[in-house]
Amino acid sequence: MKKSMLQWFGILLASVGVLHFSAAPAFSLTPTWQDEESDGGEGSESDTDQDEDEAEDKDRWYAVVGGDIYTGTGAVLKGATLLSHNGRIVQIGYNVDIPESAEVLSATGYRVYPGIVAIASTGLFGGGSDLANSVDPYSQGMLLGLASGITSAVQGGEIAKLKRGFIEGTVMRSNFFQSMRLGTNNPSGKMQLREKFEEASKYLRKYRRWRNDRSKDKGPEPKATGIDMGIVAVLRGERRAYFSESQRADLLDIASLAQKYGFRPVISGGTEAWTVADELGRAGATVILTPRTRNDKSEQLVRDGGSSIENAAILHRSGVQVVVRSPSQGNSTMGGIAGRDVIHIPISASFAVRGGLPEQAALESITINPARIAGVSHRIGTLEVGKDADFIVTDGDLLHYATFVQWAVVDGEMVYDKQAEMYYAHIRPRAEAALAPAIKTDPGEGEEESSEEAGEGEESDEDASKDGDDEKESDS
């Protein structure tokens, strides 16, 4: 941990002057950032161009102090400090030295969470497709999204940040999903898909043999004629295969396909996934689901079927990663019918808790898990040193229906303040105390009593997600 911190500082110093430098050069130097789940790709191909204004090379420090930091890895640091430098988290803990020039947000009595990652959204960016060129950084949708805790969202085939007021550096990655058509009730469609996988897999083997062949007379590069290069990208781990299926039989087909060809499928829908949870778990699947989905079981189905409020909980127990999506992906409250759209995504996740999903897993289902399948978990989804400083400060448990986001920070920039914006300022306005000028020192509170938690937090880079935090029931 400490070592990687030093490494990080070295890199930081080396790269002063690059304001929103994002990713590529740094990743190769700091393997600790890389998430094992990110399945290659690392976003290098799709990272937005980094022609940053070299003139704007002032160091940007941002600190949030005094809040209870829910890192999203399972660790909770009460009354701790998070310090970011030029948009990246450089320290989380106690007795943090905050540079003079730092902007400091006092969050005593509040909670700090990683920003929510919405796996499916429309209307949060004010633009259409091609977000890099159409994002409206002052759109109403972005304000509503941030107010609901969303700091990154997938729209179309892109994942981008809700970096209100900024145009550059918002799109993180694109084309991370490869849509697959399995063909429900269409056996020949399924056969065709299997054949495509078989051919792509044969091609890839041939190609790799050719590529690794060092002999001079190795012949021409194998032809890719007729090969589905999208499937090749899946087999190479560059994209995640994305299926929209819900029925038991189709889910089993996906699981067997995935195990045969060695890829980890993403399944959107998954209504009956709970009936084949073990198979999906063995296939390393991620299921994007809506906990409130309600479908009666088909009368022709002899086995278990239909929807279940326990879907997410059962999948989680079988090792399937769960991503929660809102019933409607729009940002509006549908004529005032609130609670079903993307701006109430924590409420959607809370229904998974009703079905037995542990609270920590529910938090992951709207933060790190969606970041993983979008291939950006090395940057967002949890609060860890080296990751982007994208976080929200809330007035309570993120999964509680009455909780509001008070502030949202993206890349170490304050992009939302509830009291300063329209729409929600009148609802339970912040007490004056919280509006007092921010203090500029780290209170170092709870150093003694919280040392245990701090220790837990420091391990969090690795696999602290397995440790339940003190306040929450851990799943056995």
Binding site: I309, G336, I337, A338, R354, Y401, M422, Y423
Partner: protein, 444 residues
């Protein structure tokens, strides 16, 4: 069975010390349902008594107690026999004890706007006013949507006609836990459905508000005249009037046995309901929907002690591009219930208009109310799911709170059911177990 009885006696002695029995559940899935004796469940009609012992009872009394800690609730013959603290209530020796531990005990939820308890064959739009049509003819007890609603804690519903005409017909008040119409019926007629405006405009000739108000007033006046004839006959005798099914409902309305459930929303429309139905015609009604900018009228409604059953739109978003036809405040997300409360309105209830919002998500309506500014310090949210809708529909004498003499329609939950994270672990209706996720699987 024998050991159960011994256990009961043991618990009685324990209760002297104000302590519950051991091994009380604290996690979901831990609860053991009462055991039937000779085929009759304890607490049900004709069975031995049932004593529910727990730490948190949501009483939801109107103008009374909100909660009771460390309580006992006795159920006998389907009714609540006694409620009190563990030191106040002595459990009779033969009663079976259901110790719910850390779970909460609360009254079943009450829905005053339901369209899913039947096959929705009740939005006939031939005539603009249909006071004689009855939703009871269309009920389908125990259908899948009703069962889902039950799993969400909804034990009583008012199944009503749609709003395709001004007077859609008579609603029917139903229990959701049983499989036959006879056992489900709470009261028929349950209500008269009035749609003041905002939907009946789609009727054949596309009437505007002038015709609709004329037609509604005309219909109601004829109904009142019919009822008055009967009242005169009942008082003074004379020639017995002829029964006309078209107008019978007005006799119940005049006696205030039945209330008008009024599809009414938006300031001007609700104002018309108040002035016409309440002030001018003197008929009992409750505001059903009451959404958009209706909250601006809440003080007027409060003066008349009118009930508001709010939903399904419990937020009034600003008009800018979100929805073009609303927006009571240009720059804020206005919580509907919060708006009522700010005007001093107290009778705040919630509805789903199921299937507009699925019946099982009734609790979410209260949660949304709180999220968008409703102050829940006085337990307004839970009352808005129980006693307030029960009073609005005129069935608070039997359901809506945990009070002696009421039906034993009781939920055992993992906590405050307003929070979507909490679930229903057991439901009793008339003292019988009607939902037990341990046995039949968790539906919601």
């Amino acid at each position: 069975m024998k050991s159960k009885l011994q256990f009961a006696a043991f618990a009685v002695s324990l209760s002297l010390f104000g302590s519950a029995a051991t091994a009380a559940p604290s996690e979901r899935g831990d609860l053991e349902a009462p055991v039937a004796i000779n085929g009759v469940e304890p607490g049900a009609q004709g069975g031995v008594g049932l004593a529910i012992v727990g730490k948190k009872f949501v009483l939801a009394e109107w103008g009374g107690r909100s909660v009771l800690d460390n309580g006992v609730l006795l159920v006998k013959d389907g009714k609540i026999q006694k409620v009190g603290t563990q030191s106040e209530v002595t459990i009779p020796a033969e009663y079976q004890i259901l110790d719910v531990g850390d779970h909460w005990v609360m009254p079943g939820l009450v829905e005053m706007h339901n369209h899913v308890a039947g096959r929705f064959g009740l939005n006939d739009m031939v005539y603009l006013a249909n006071p004689g049509l009855r939703a009871s003819a269309d009920v389908e007890p125990g259908n899948s949507m009703t069962k889902m609603g039950l799993a969400g804690g909804v034990t009583s519903v008012l199944y009503i006609p749609g709003s395709g005409t001004n007077v859609g017909g008579q609603g029917v008040l139903l229990r959701t836990g049983f499989d036959t119409y006879e056992r489900c019926e709470i009261r028929n007629p349950g209500s008269l459905k009035l749609a003041q405006a905002g939907n009946p405009e789609r009727w054949l000739m596309r009437p505007g508000r002038t015709l609709m108000n004329y037609n509604t007033r005309n219909t109601f006046r004829r109904g009142i005249a019919y009822a008055k004839k009967w009242e005169a006959y009942e008082k003074d005798g004379g020639v017995k009037p002829r029964v006309n099914p078209q107008w019978e409902i007005f006799r119940h309305l005049r006696k205030r046995e039945v209330h008008i459930s009024t599809h009414t929303q938006m300031y001007q429309v609700v104002l018309k309901t108040i002035t016409m139905v309440h002030d001018e015609l003197g008929l009992p009604f409750f505001i059903d929907h009451g959404t958009f900018d209706t909250w601006r009228l809440a003080a007027e409604a409060e003066k008349r002690e009118i009930f508001g059953v709010l939903g399904p739109r419990n937020v009034d978003p600003p008009s800018r591009s979100m929805i073009a036809w609303a927006g009571s405040a240009p720059e804020r997300m206005q919580g509907v219930a919060a708006g009522y409360q700010a005007q001093g309105f107290t009778r705040i209830g919630f509805n789903t208009d199921s299937p507009v919002i699925p019946q099982e998500e009734l609790q979410l309506q209260a949660a949304i109310g709180v999220r968008y500014g409703l102050d829940d310090a006085e337990m307004v949210a839970l009352r808005g799911l129980t006693i307030v809708p029960a009073m609005a529909g005129g069935i608070a004498d039997t359901v809506g709170s945990l009070e002696v003499g009421k039906d034993a329609d009781i939920l055992i939950t993992t906590g405050n059911i307003t929070d979507p994270r909490h679930s229903v672990e057991l439901i009793l209706q008339l003292g019988e177990v009607v939902y037990n996720p341990q046995e039949e699987g968790r539906r919601w």
